[in-house]
């Protein structure tokens, strides 16, 4: 499918038109139960066409090459019933230079990827032969091109390299999962940090210890922040949620809402990060969005349509694949670290909890900022030391309440997946509940 030809036909039949083309080649290498299982190559190329006709939005997508007329017909058919368009497509602009494509990543041979995964599994099994491991090594090369009837024609490429391992330990009915992953735009050749992180989790979880219910000091590790706190926090910054009146931050722009040590940025311009890009998925030039500055709420995130409805401007926060229309999303969220070593945070706690991974955190009232769920990996702290793993323990609270007063920020910030850079965060009082089975033997 020739994008220019589709745009050409669409602009003649509609008032405005936009073609979004994505072409990605993904090569995952999968190990299951300690063994190499499957090598894959997924080459997906598709096109999404948005049109505005008589003030209404139409959308159609296709992965069929050479179907120009059908695609335009479908988009126009849909536009007759579509939502009212509250924006115009953006003209060409100056786009920031962003480094996110490394040819070396695209060239990593399959054999090297297999060896990396095998190395991780061998490393884990050498230290803990009773574990059953899955591992994944994946490289992706992605090209995006956005053309529209206002003259925009912008494209970029990026590479993503992802390496991860999980280990499962089963002792009778006691199950434990540990693991870590790293994501970069550049080839990852050294897996020692992933290995070390995984083995540290295993060491800390060596035995199960009883926990008690109460309002206790809790440290969320970077993984803990990602699995428990990030989603209910970020959703409050979505311009769409603000517009619907559903964000607890709706009236708080410019107000000191959080602890003054808290600064959060959504940054699509960081060099060599997998979420970096010169423009968003509507062709609006990327910009750094300061969400929270020393506790003050500075920006909500908008795509073009929501910005139009709210009387704001787009913050270049549109995200999509070729098969769907844009929605609002953050790129790389950076929570500024503090000065405390993780060990010192632990040392200052008389009785508390370290939260590494929570499941079911999104089942409550996420829009209201509520978090909560089962701590599937977390450690009890007693008199300044991690003493073992807790089980049958749930945590709950409200992120907006929690971030009003931080206990302390760690200096141990790291990337969790592609989208979050955060330190460990200590809160002095978090609701922890545990059932009697929490006292299970180790």
């Amino acid at each position: 499918m020739d994008p220019e030809a589709v745009l050409d036909l669409a602009r003649r039949r509609a008032d405005e038109a936009e073609v979004y083309v994505s072409d990605s080649e993904e090569t995952p290498v999968a190990f299951e139960a300690n063994r190499l299982k499957l090598l894959q190559t997924r080459h997906i190329r598709g096109m999404g066409l948005r049109v505005i006709k008589d003030g209404r939005l139409g959308f159609a997508a296709s992965t069929r090459p050479g179907e120009r007329d059908a695609l335009v017909d479908m988009a126009l058919e849909v536009a007759a019933f579509g939502a009212e368009a509250r924006f115009h497509l953006p003209p060409p602009a100056a786009y920031p230079a962003v480094e996110a494509f490394d040819p070396a990543t695209a060239a990593v041979p399959l054999a090297e990827m297999v060896a990396l995964g095998q190395g991780l599994i061998d490393g884990v099994l050498a230290a803990a032969p009773e574990l059953v491991c899955d591992a994944g090594v994946r490289r992706t090369v992605q090209r995006v091109r956005i053309l529209n009837s206002a003259g925009t024609d912008v494209s970029y490429q990026r590479t993503v390299f992802r390496v991860g391992v999980t280990g499962e330990r089963v002792r009778d009915t006691d199950m434990l999962w540990v693991g870590d992953e790293e994501v970069s735009t550049r080839p990852i050749r050294d897996v020692s940090r992933i290995l070390q992180h995984t083995l540290t989790q295993l060491e800390r979880a060596r035995e199960n210890v009883p926990m008690r219910s109460g309002e206790l000091p809790v440290i969320f590790t970077p993984d803990g922040v990602a699995s428990a706190l990030l989603a209910p926090l970020l959703v409050a910054f979505s311009g769409k949620i603000v517009l619907q009146g559903a964000s607890p931050l709706g009236e708080s722009l410019g107000a000191q809402v959080y602890d003054e040590r808290l600064t959060i940025v959504d940054d699509p311009l960081l060099p060599w990060r997998p979420s970096s890009r010169p423009c968003d998925d509507e062709g609006v030039p990327s910009r750094r969005n300061l969400l929270v500055e020393r506790g003050v709420v500075r920006t909500f995130l908008y795509d073009l349509q929501t910005a139009g409805m709210a009387g704001r401007e787009s913050t270049a926060s549109a995200q999509r694949g070729f098969a769907s229309q844009p929605s609002i999303g953050a790129t790389a969220v950076v929570i500024e670290p503090g000065e405390h070593r993780f060990e010192d945070l632990v040392a200052g706690i008389d009785e508390g909890l370290v939260v590494e991974h929570v499941i079911g955190a999104a089942q409550g009232n996420v829009l209201g900022g509520e978090f909560g769920g089962n701590v599937v990996l977390g450690y009890k702290v007693e008199r300044g030391r991690i003493v073992g793993r807790v089980k049958n323990t749930v945590i709950a609270g409200n992120v907006h309440q929690l971030f009003k007063r931080l206990g302390a920020l760690g200096n141990d910030a790291r990337w969790v997946g592609a989208g979050l850079y955060t330190p460990s965060i200590l809160f002095e009082r978090v609701s922890v509940a545990t059932s009697g089975e929490g006292a299970a033997r180790g």
Binding site: E32, A33, R35, L36, K37, L38, L39, Q40, T41, R42, H43, I44, R45, G46, G58, F59, A60, A61, S62, T63, R64, P65, E67, A70, L71, M74, A75, E77, V78, A80, F81, G82, A83, L110, A111, V114, V132, V170, T173, M175, Q244, A323, S324, Q325, I359, G360, Q363, N365
Partner: protein, 452 residues
């Protein structure tokens, strides 16, 4: 097409290769609040190749059919890198077949204007109820035609149309927000979409009714599950443990799922099968070309079977069951359920209620998680049972417990049966795969019930 595929497979140095080529057409209409959120149409085409060399798999997917020969070569190369042991694949006779679906009302013959007018009416129905805070309504129809071919000589063409409608309504009173939702679907037939006004009205009223309903007092109760909840319970808590790809590499699960183990009383019978016609999980051949079957999982309380692909069947010394399914051309097939249900028994609902002084009648599905033997499910709707009668509506409840204890505690199996067609199962990133689940009313003793 056939010539092209056969040409691409010829002379390749792999023990086994298969190819799937598909075309699809999709229409999606969604509403958020009172507003139309999105109308979209899409046409897809794509294919994939899977190759097996010395026990290792290579898999390549693509959009452009001209890429087929290159994709075959790449899949074989990947399989060679992955292969380190002996290949094992249970034999299946290579079928050559064209399967034509029996179509009721084809959604592709209904204009977009007509569909939208119908849904607009439903949105009005939902919003005519006071105290509704927000609602979402989502309709999709998807046509998919898939050609499967293998270097063993199979060549099978199948097509299907999936129609789904889901709705979720939130009612609000001050800071109190309550939610009710439903998820419906049908294979090859649009008609169910046309007659949902009463059901959606009842849904909105239910969300509002939750606002003034009391919380359950937590504790152990005798619980009656309605057919929808019995079916989803059977799929989520038990069915996934029957998928052999989990079992054959997991010694602990092999022990638990040893054939011949007693799981329940003699009245407990659980079946999975795509051969049952006309349901969302129905098909004639799976995505490895194995004919659809009916597989007894539990017969008279005893574990007697499990679900297989050709590879898991060979590895466990059992027979393939036709359960290797792929969401679409982007994915290799993995072991999945199809239509999973508890067979009806003898008991009438009145008999089940009789003698319950204080119990819970739990209906429909909201959500849940399982970790092997532990499960936690939210019912969409629940009532107290008092002195043998269904009494007041409760706020949604959570049921949890140990799967094996719970299966053994099923003490009555109803004489009715209903299948829920709205299911979309997720596994290995392949979601939503069409399935159906069902059962009769079942009664379970000593279920731990909490508030949500």
């Amino acid at each position: 097409m056939r010539g092209l595929i056969e040409e691409a497979l010829r002379g390749q140095a792999a023990e086994y290769i298969d190819v799937r080529v598909e075309e699809s057409e999709l229409t999606r209409i969604t509403y958020r609040g009172r507003q139309l959120d999105e109308v979209a149409r899409a046409r897809g085409a794509g294919g994939c190749v899977r190759a097996l060399v010395r026990g290792g798999w290579g898999f390549v997917s693509f959009n452009d059919l001209e890429s087929l020969p290159r994709a075959v070569a790449l899949a074989v190369e990947e399989a060679r890198v992955a292969g380190r042991e002996e290949s094992r694949l249970a034999p299946v006779a290579p079928h050559v077949d064209v399967v034509m679906p029996t179509i009721g009302k084809d959604p592709r013959t209904v204009s977009l204007a007509e569909k939208k007018a119908l849904l607009d009416g439903y949105v009005d129905v939902i919003w005519s109820t006071p105290k509704i805070a927000t609602a979402t309504l989502a309709y999709t129809d998807t046509y998919r035609r898939v050609v499967f071919a293998s270097n063993e000589g199979a060549y099978i063409e199948q097509s299907r149309i999936d129609v789904t409608l889901s709705a979720s309504v939130q009612a609000r009173d001050g800071a109190d927000v309550q939610q009710a939702s439903l998820s419906l679907g049908a294979l090859n037939d649009y008609r169910f979409v046309e007659t949902l006004a009463d059901e959606l009205k009842a849904l909105a009223e239910k969300a509002v009714a939750f606002l003034s309903a009391p919380h359950v007092r937590g504790g152990e109760y005798t619980v009656i599950l309605n057919p929808v909840l019995a079916g989803v319970f059977c799929h989520e808590a038990f069915g996934h443990l029957s998928e052999a790809d989990h079992i054959y590499e997991n010694p602990r699960l092999q022990e638990i799922m040893k054939l011949g183990t007693r799981f329940g009383e003699r009245h407990l019978n659980i079946v999975d099968g795509a051969a049952l016609p006309g349901l969302r999980g129905s098909y004639a051949y799976d995505d490895e070309g194995t004919p659809a079957q009916q597989t007894d999982l539990i017969r008279e309380g005893i574990l007697v079977g499990r679900l297989h692909s050709r590879e898991t069947a060979a590895r466990m010394g059992e027979r393939p069951t036709g359960n290797a399914r792929a969401l679409d051309y982007r994915f290799p097939p993995i072991v999945r359920m199809t239509n999973t249900y508890i067979e009806p028994g003898q008991a009438r609902l009145e008999d089940m209620l009789e003698g319950i002084k204080e119990g819970i009648y739990a209906a429909n599905w909201y959500g849940g998680t399982t970790t092997m033997e532990q499960f936690t499910f939210s019912a969409g709707e629940a009532y107290m049972i008092r002195d043998g009668r269904i009494a007041e509506l409760l706020r949604p409840v959570v049921l949890s417990g140990n799967l094996f204890t719970t299966l053994r505690n099923i003490d009555m199996v109803g004489n009715d049966l209903a299948m829920n067609q709205g299911g979309g199962c997720g596994k290995g990133g392949q979601v939503p795969l069409p399935v159906s689940t069902g059962g009769p009313h079942i009664r379970i003793r000593n279920v731990l019930v909490g508030g949500r």
